[in-house]
């Protein structure tokens, strides 16, 4: 079970969180013309990276904040965590 540092609450076990997928995906702006390809990329196409991955988790049984977690998908090592509005450098 992972041990995730919620930027709002501190170190908490994985069973307090739910997974939210790739954090690098950006939703196209509302009311903007979007090509089929662009939309497919947003809705469906994911890289399924091996290695360092920036992903979303929600601290559902805690502060309910969505956070970003930089995690290695092969080793589960967590490098850093970010608040939703924090810029990932």
């Amino acid at each position: 079970m992972l041990y995730i540092n919620c930027p709002h609450c501190g170190m908490r076990s994985q069973n307090e969180f739910s997974y939210g997928g790739d954090a690098s995906v950006k939703r196209p702006e509302l009311n903007k013309e979007v090509s089929d390809q662009e939309w497919d990329n947003f809705v469906y196409n994911r890289k399924s990276l091996r290695g360092k991955h920036l992903e979303l988790w929600q601290h559902i049984s805690g502060c309910r904040q969505w956070i970003k977690v930089e995690r290695d998908t092969t080793t589960h090592e967590i490098f850093r965590t970010f608040k939703a509005d924090e810029e990932v450098a």
Partner: protein, 998 residues
């Protein structure tokens, strides 16, 4: 029978307390502090079971967790449990155990013909033999194998025992209380670190309980006792015996199974049987020690052949002689410790040492005691069937290939030591890539992957002096990092007689003309010849060899067999062992009770149960409940001998004729506040929300980004910047997360706050033509007329002094209202509704009637919004705004979603107006068409229409729009039904929706 093999002046058992127990129906005596194994051996019982495949007699091989043979069926306090190791099961008064794997009895086992008839079952036998004819598999092969195999029977009764889970955090977790564990724990504890020390055995001390060493001028055991006593007084130390750390998971989470009650005749009141600890440790010291390795020779599975360390443990811990004429067969100094221990108790052992010449203090001591030592000698084969009677021994050449003249010597046990294998399971589970250490012919942990350090014998360090030094240092250093204390610990002097030099020798060659079975895996009956066959047949990867032969795949996970198997493969393949590689260790290290893993989450505790505030009223009024997610909802209210069908029909009819009341507390409720609340709703719902006036409700449809309907519900504008959203019961949590996702990540600029208020409000739906009359009586001071409270209107009211929210919304399709009050007043509200409603013939209705009412109205619910349908499919495209953008809108342009013959909701009526159509039935054009019969659609929900008094169903049907009036067949192979049906409009009752507005 007396305990003929129990000796005086030895052992840590309590001789003041005799315990009586039964094995295979016969009564024996043992002492408190015995294991079942030691007590049986004290009584001279060596035959414990039969082997898995050949049903060969089985004795005891080890004295602890590594035991491959002595697996029994245990009976305790009216319960039975299989797969219990006799070497681990502590004796208690009244214990009963039986052999497994033998029929009709352990002494006469029919399965043993497997052994005598030369249907020897070589590697792959099952794969090759039972493949054909196919029809034989179910009828003949499988039943036979099932009867012949297995390690006991699981109880079919409900387990009365209670199991607990516990979460714990610590600075240092130490796995194993041998010398390295004690030193590490002590040093860390002295620095003030929060320490958990776990020992799987009842007694702390590990190898110090049996080894002949001195630490700081005391015996090893006395030193260990002193450390333990001191640790127990320290408030920062948790010290647990009977506790096996069996799994090392991500981020330094380890799981430990604590046997709280297994050593007692019955579990004490309020105590669990076992407790599972989830421990998150900052640092882990793995001090799991090592397991003695067997040397492979002919008939090495005969009862009486055992590990030399086990023989020594039976002597020193339990005061039990495993034989009176022992033969010790060793390739290192450890065998001498056992021999000397025998000698001290007046038993003359013979030592066969495969080494030509070996020197150490302990060998000198053995010689001085006059022990008969034969160097360059090996056991070629054990003789005897149910017990060792003698051994064929021979000298062996220096290259270990040639045997000298074979001679037979009398003995009643053979104590084997092939050196030591570090117990690296936990380190390996942590992700540590283990490496082969040539000097000890075994794998040791490599570079740490998590915060773990392996100490002592588990790390391949067999010198006590070095073990203590490195372990004290590790404990100090790691704890210093955490607590910033640095207490000096004086490292004690160590006197150890044995050297850790050993002979690289693990398998005795077969003498010419002999075909002895030489076993590698004792539990799964895998012999040298099996691995040879596998390699001859082309298996190369060690993982494949393992699965083909089942080497190391028994419940002992190859604790005593893995390395010898690897040695064999490397020898045949002419590769070095590390090149052969070894299989991955996976948790659990040793079998763990399913009960312990499940913990308290059994029966009604397997998930939380949510009840509405009116639950007790429903109970008192004969409600029959149904699970709705984690909620319990009344399905119907039983009157007299009514069944579900009758009751739900009565309730639904009464709604259509008079008025009914339904508990709708379970609907998800989300409070939405903020100046941008309307904008948020406008983006998450498909329809327009910017112009909803205060005091009005609107039905809304929510999509996922892929265009699929996520949820529906009504949202009401309570005040300027305050909305009350409802969701379906099932989607409540998902919708909240969905809103939070967009607010926190996608549109953080929106100034809106959302919070779940599902539990804060109790809800009652009042539906039926008389509902307004009832409402007026409930709220005499409010104007609830059609003008005062029009359809989709909202107002606040005073319900006999309780503040209430009144919504004019309808799921049933009738004139209907929903009344919400704060949860604590829920029951009060309900009772008032029933009391005041009596004159209008009110009846409560459950989810079944609710379904009937919504189905015949063509209102969609979870069975249509099933994660596969878009708004059009549900005839809800009218709710999809063409003007504004919203979540999922772009996806609706996908060609499949705009196809002319897109699936759509329809009504379905059986032609005979009698036969109910099973939900899930497929709609097909031709009921006689060959399979696979093309499916046009499926029945999503069925009811008995109370309006028309015939069955009615909803279906999602391909090109449904143009199918009205068509005749099709509803087929349910599951229910074996073919029903001719007609497709009708999904709005079966009141298609214009006049009632809700009346």
């Amino acid at each position: 029978m007396t305990q003929a093999f129990r000796i005086e002046n030895s052992g840590l058992i309590n001789r003041d307390k005799k315990l009586s127990f039964k094995f295979n129906g016969k009564t024996y005596l043992g002492y408190e502090g015995d294991t079942l194994a030691s007590a049986l051996l004290a009584n001279g019982v060596h035959l414990i079971g039969r082997s898995f495949k050949y049903h060969r007699p089985r004795g005891f091989f080890g004295a602890g967790v590594d035991e491959p043979y002595a697996v029994v069926q245990l009976y305790r306090n009216g319960e039975t449990e299989p797969n219990i190791k006799a070497t681990e099961q502590e004796l208690f008064e009244g214990l009963e155990a039986k052999s497994v794997n033998c029929w009709p009895s352990v002494n006469f086992d029919i399965g043993a013909i497997n052994n005598f008839l030369k249907i020897f079952l070589p590697a792959g036998f099952y794969y090759k033999t039972f493949m054909w004819p196919k029809s034989f598999w179910y009828r003949i092969y499988e039943p036979f194998i099932r009867k012949a195999a297995g390690l006991g029977v699981a109880s079919t009764k409900h387990d009365k025992e209670r199991y607990e889970h516990k979460y714990e955090y610590c600075d240092l977790l130490i796995a194993g209380s041998g010398p390295s564990g004690l030193a590490g724990a002590y040093a860390a504890a002295k620095n003030g670190a929060k320490v958990i020390l776990a020992e799987d055995k009842p007694r702390f001390g590990g190898s110090l309980l049996t080894s002949d060493v001195n630490i700081g001028n005391q015996s090893g055991k006395d030193w260990a006792d002193g450390i333990i006593a001191e640790l127990k007084t320290m408030p920062n130390v948790v010290i647990k015996n009977r506790s096996q750390i069996f799994g090392y998971y991500d981020h330094n989470m380890l799981v430990m199974s604590e046997k709280v009650s297994d050593h007692l005749p019955s579990t004490k009141k309020y105590h669990p049987n076992k407790r599972l600890w989830y421990i998150r440790a900052k640092e882990v010291l793995i001090s799991s020690g090592s397991i003695e390795r067997p040397i492979v020779f002919g008939n090495n599975d005969t009862p009486g052949v055992m590990l030399s360390s086990a023989a020594k443990e039976y002597l020193k811990v339990y005061g039990v002689l495993v034989g009176r004429k022992p033969l010790v067969f060793t390739n290192n100094d450890s065998g001498y410790e056992t021999a000397i221990e025998f000698k001290k108790h007046g038993v003359d052992p013979v030592v066969l040492d495969s080494r030509k010449n070996a020197e150490s203090e302990i060998i000198d001591e053995a010689k001085n005691l006059g022990i008969n030592i034969k160097n360059s000698h090996v056991v070629v084969a054990a003789q005897g069937y149910k017990k060792v009677k003698s051994a064929d021994i021979a000298s062996i050449s220096e290259d270990k290939k040639q045997l000298g003249k074979i001679e037979n010597i009398q003995c009643d046990c053979i104590c084997v030591s092939g050196f030591w294998t570090p117990t690296i399971h936990l380190a390996s589970q942590s992700g540590n890539k283990t490496k082969f250490k040539e000097e000890i012919d075994a794998f040791v942990p490599g570079e740490s992957k998590q915060n773990e350090i392996t100490l002592g014998a588990a790390n391949g360090i067999f010198s006590l002096d070095e073990t203590l030094k490195t372990s004290f240092t590790a404990g100090s250093e790691l704890s210093k990092k955490i607590t910033e204390n640095d207490n000096e610990i004086a490292i004690p002097n160590v006197v150890e007689k044995k050297s850790s030099q050993h002979d690289k020798f693990w398998c005795v060659p077969l003498p010419k003309g002999k075909n002895y079975k030489r076993f590698l895996d004792f539990q799964n009956d895998v012999a040298v010849s099996d691995v040879e066959i596998a390699l001859r047949e082309g298996y190369r990867s060690i993982e494949h060899v393992k699965r083909y032969t089942t080497l190391g795949m028994a419940t002992d996970q190859g604790k005593t067999s893995n390395l010898n198997g690897l040695q064999l493969v490397s020898e045949i393949e002419n590769k070095v062992v590390p090149a052969v590689g070894h299989t991955t260790f996976r948790p659990p290290y040793t079998p763990v009770s399913i009960g312990a893993i499940v913990g308290r989450e059994v029966g009604k505790h397997s998930k939380p149960t949510r009840k509405s505030p009116m639950h007790s009223w429903h109970e008192k009024n004969n409600a029959v409940f149904v699970d709705a997610g984690v909620w319990l909802r009344p399905r119907y209210y039983k009157r007299g001998n009514e069944n579900l069908f009758d009751a739900s029909k009565r309730e639904a009819k009464n709604v259509r004729a008079n008025v009914g009341v339904c508990d709708v507390t379970t609907l998800g409720k989300i409070d939405i506040k903020g100046p941008d609340a309307a904008e948020l709703l406008n983006r998450v719902y498909t329809n327009a929300w910017l112009k909803l006036p205060v005091g009005k409700a609107r039905y809304g449809l929510m999509l996922r980004e892929d265009g699929i309907v996520m949820d529906d519900g009504t949202t009401t504008r309570i005040s300027e910047n305050h909305y009350h959203m409802t969701t379906t019961t099932a989607q409540a949590a998902n919708v909240l997360s969905h809103l939070e996702y967009y607010l926190q990540l996608v549109w953080p600029e929106l100034n809106v706050n959302v919070v779940s208020t599902t539990e804060q409000w109790a809800g009652a739906a009042i539906a039926g033509p008389k509902s307004r009359d009832l409402l007026q009586k409930l709220f005499p001071n409010s104007d609830v007329s059609n003008e005062g409270l029009p359809f989709m209107g909202y107002m606040e009211g005073d319900l006999f002094g309780v503040k209430a929210r009144i919504f004019r919304i309808s799921f049933s399709g009738e004139l209907a209202y929903e009344v919400n009050v704060e949860s604590d007043y829920g029951n009060f509200m309900w009772e008032k509704i029933m009391e005041v409603g009596a004159e209008f013939n009110i009846q409560p209705y459950g989810t079944e009637a609710l379904s009937t009412l919504r189905i015949e109205m063509g209102h969609v619910a979870g069975s249509e919004l099933d994660g596969r349908t878009i708004p059009f499919d549900n005839a809800l495209e009218g709710l999809v705004s063409k003007k504004k953008d919203f979540i999922g809108k772009r996806s609706l342009q996908r060609s499949a979603f705009t196809a002319e013959d897109r699936q759509r909701i329809v009504g379905v009526v059986p032609l005979d107006k009698q036969t109910s159509i099973p939900e899930g039935s497929h709609l097909v054009k031709d009921d006689k068409a060959p399979l696979p019969n093309p499916k046009l659609g499926h029945i999503s929900a069925s009811c008995w229409s109370v309006e028309y008094d015939n069955p009615f169903s909803l279906a999602i049907l391909k090109d449904g729009k143009n199918m009205i009036g068509q005749k099709l067949f509803a087929m349910s192979p599951v229910k074996n039904k073919v029903i001719p049906v007609e497709i009708v409009s999904s709005h079966y009752v009141d298609p214009k929706g006049e009632r809700v507005r009346s």
